[in-house]
Symmetry: C2
């Protein structure tokens, strides 16, 4: 989902009444970011509070390449990383993940081995394969074991876009919340739905109800579900004791537009890129009785902050034996303070850009290669900005391209290198970057090696279902990451 | 001002708390349009309820050319046109215009000859000349007479952007409202401020207060002023008896970006074009106690509707002896009804496009000429959409370019001519266009002839001020309209 997909952020059809109401009852973040323009690294960052380049969710197979966890990925979340649910356990929390995990699907990466108590969902994305023949369909797990596979047992009609998965995920969420409220136990629910990821889907009740087509139907169903979750909390009388945060893991994938692609508002480009459209996210904090209704925050925020903020809410300290990139947002949320902190825009192993205050400096620009672009792969459709949306990796480390995101949120007008403003801003930014690079210790890259043998051929539980498949012989190779 | 300049419409800095509150207390229109992508024709349409091609505010000097009322224009609003204030007089209304008139500056076009009782403001735009030497500076009128000139008596500091004009216009508005309330007379106030038109200005108190630069300062001052006007109505106890509508006369001028150009959100291009960025407008209706708070309307609206709606509010019928294009929006505003009506996008003498429901068909596309474009005149910076933002006038009358504005508000993905959807939509649209063209009787074009002799050399009142200038010999010529 993209920044511009919510009515509260200016989507012209304004079809998200529940999220808009969540914002009017809570706090809207205008400058909230993900840690990476792609799913897996972004989610790893959210759960560890650390940049992907630290927690291992990146690749060194090529320079500045986006990488994730397809079925043949060998790596995943290292045991050495401390995940939010692992830490929350110390404060008595019961933790559940509903939806897409995406931090590795091999046994050692299982969410229940990393702090979650319950899981309903899939280890990988649902974008294929679709026939379970040459390659195994993605499994759906309940806790330790697979209970079926996408397209076989959990249908997504690729012609009509019909699937009731969001409804299943919603029911799982409501049931979990009810159970926890009944047992008086504090809980952490990571509700990681994926209906807006291509192939986009919605349940029958929502199909054809949006002005925006199938993608809009999916957004409307998510919006409706969020409304139901919030109402459930209120009905159970625990809304004033439950902190809820809504955000996304990367910008809308414009490559899937117009049928299955969302909106990043007026920001440049989308998912896969380190322009604002790829990494600025819709974000709403909700906590009635604590967060002032109708608040708007200009705090520069990041999904990694949800790690630190959640620990703070639970009365816990973040780990002190490692670098944590997330900050505690509670002063911003509860007291309206503004904390000075930079935002780093990484693509794989490269810091492409940094934001300090309202200035954003690009040290590298790249949308994708000419080769891909000429085949129709376009992350910035209809948005060519000369010298900015480049199809070769352009290095600007000596003279970064500088934008003022207040005057120019669309990153169309680089500041003149000769201007005083450029000089002043770059002095400040250079210090931040210097400090960042001086203390950066990259983790071991987890997204370098792929092997068809590790795919979901025979997940635990497959025997009972008669759904085990025979893996091929192991043949580990460098994964190919084209952009 | 553009659609995307308000927080309520997703401006990423969200700096319009008063307009946003106006929306939350009133009704936001998502699909509201101007009748022309340029100032004068748009304002003529607002005040007559008729398309510029009917009321004469267009040119035939070239095909599909934007035209307006610079100082050397010979034409203006014809006496045969009936303006809103003329009609409101019949219901006892006192009418005032504050700000830019732009419907002709020669004596016969004076606003007080066309129904207004009071005027404070200028007949033309403030964008020059600046030195009153070769050409006269634009005069500022109080009622019948000029009381000074821009840049001489009404300063705009072109270096700092400082000018207190919006404050003067605000005070005029507050005083007029107080006076009318005291005398118990119904009133129509046309508050036509122009601070967001280049050269953009703001008063000292607002300079440097926006994240968005000088343009943002101007928007903030307008926002603040609207808030003060609404509060004044409330303080006087007449808010429940006063209908207020906020909108703009064309999309933000992207040619002035980033320093002096606003935002059209994710819509394509800006002022001067018939893409959504040129003609979709921010729009808010406010009438406490009548309009349900927090309403959102998808009614296709147009500035011309303000003519018909205002008459309706005053218990008057629109003239029956001529074609009126504006519709009465009260059923949409008060009862949430949706009225089926098309939106026509004209550029000069050509119907460039039409919107019916969510479909928009372009019969002609043109941003501007190669000649202008190669000189840096760009109405669509960073937004080249191949085959859509063309630099030659492209005719599509046989097979119009069709967009679905719900799925594709940015007009980036024309529907396939071969699709069923295209066929179905075009059948409906063709009927609408056929009917429109069959009954179209263009008015006499007012914007064809220019003559330096008619400039504001010696406006009434100049003698008292010692500010009369000697006009050159009359030399009427065809005006040159480059785009």
């Amino acid at each position: 989902m993209g920044w511009g997909d919510l009515g509260a952020f200016g989507e012209p059809s304004k079809e998200t009444p529940n999220l808009d109401q969540m914002a009017s009852e809570g706090m809207l973040f205008l400058d909230f970011y993900t840690a990476n323009p792609l799913c897996s690294p972004s989610r790893a960052a959210l759960l560890t509070g650390r940049l992907p380049v630290r927690n291992g969710f990146y690749t060194t197979n090529g320079h500045a390449r986006n990488a994730y966890t397809p079925q043949d990925i060998v790596g995943g979340i290292p045991d050495s990383e401390l995940l939010l649910p692992e830490l929350l356990k110390k404060a008595g929390y019961i933790n559940k993940i509903i939806g897409k995990w995406h931090l590795g699907h091999r046994p050692q990466f299982h969410p229940l081995k990393h702090g979650f108590d319950e899981w309903f969902g899939s280890p990988n994305c649902h974008f294929g394969p679709f026939d379970n023949r040459a390659l195994p369909n993605i499994p759906v797990y309940r806790d330790w074991e697979m209970i079926g596979r996408y397209y076989e047992d959990f249908k997504i009609d690729r012609k009509t876009g019909e699937a009731n998965l969001t409804q299943i995920y919603l029911q799982e969420a409501l049931d979990f919340i009810s159970k926890q409220q009944a047992s008086q136990q504090p809980f952490f629910l990571y509700w990681a739905i994926d209906a807006t990821h291509a192939p986009v889907y919605a349940s029958k009740h929502f199909l054809g109800t949006s002005q925006r087509g199938l993608y809009g139907d999916a957004v409307r169903e998510i919006d409706d579900s969020v409304g139901k979750i919030l109402k459930h909390l209120q009905k159970l009388g625990i809304s004033e004791n439950t902190f809820v945060f809504f955000t996304s893991d990367n910008g809308a994938a414009l490559i899937s537009a117009p049928k299955e692609g969302g909106s990043n508002g007026r920001f440049l480009c989308g998912k896969q890129t380190t322009f604002e459209g790829g990494m600025r996210e819709p974000a709403i904090a909700w906590w009635p009785g604590h967060i002032p209704a109708g608040g708007v925050s200009r705090q520069l925020g990041n999904v990694m902050d949800l790690f630190t903020t959640s620990l703070s809410l639970a009365g816990l300290q973040p780990p002190s034996d490692r670098q944590i990139d997330g900050i505690d947002l509670l002063p911003a949320i509860l007291q309206g303070k503004l904390i000075d902190r930079p935002i780093f825009y990484y693509r794989g192993n490269e810091m492409m850009a940094v934001r300090v205050g309202l200035y954003k400096a690009h040290y590298w620009t790249w949308s994708n290669s000419w080769e891909e672009y000429s085949k129709g792969v376009d992350f910035c459709p209809g948005q060519n900005v000369s010298g900015v949306t480049t199809h070769t990796q352009e290095e600007h480390t000596t003279l970064p391209l500088l934008f003022h995101l207040g005057r120019d949120p669309g990153e169309k007008y680089p500041l003149s290198f000769a201007s005083d403003e450029y000089q002043r801003a770059m002095e400040r930014i250079s210090l931040v970057v210097q400090q960042h690079k001086a203390t950066m210790v990259p983790g071991e890259p987890q997204l370098n090696v792929c092997d068809k043998a590790v795919m979901n051929w025979s997940p635990p539980g497959c025997e009972k279902l008669g759904k085990c498949l025979k893996p091929p012989k192991s043949d580990p190779k460098k994964c190919f990451w084209p952009h």
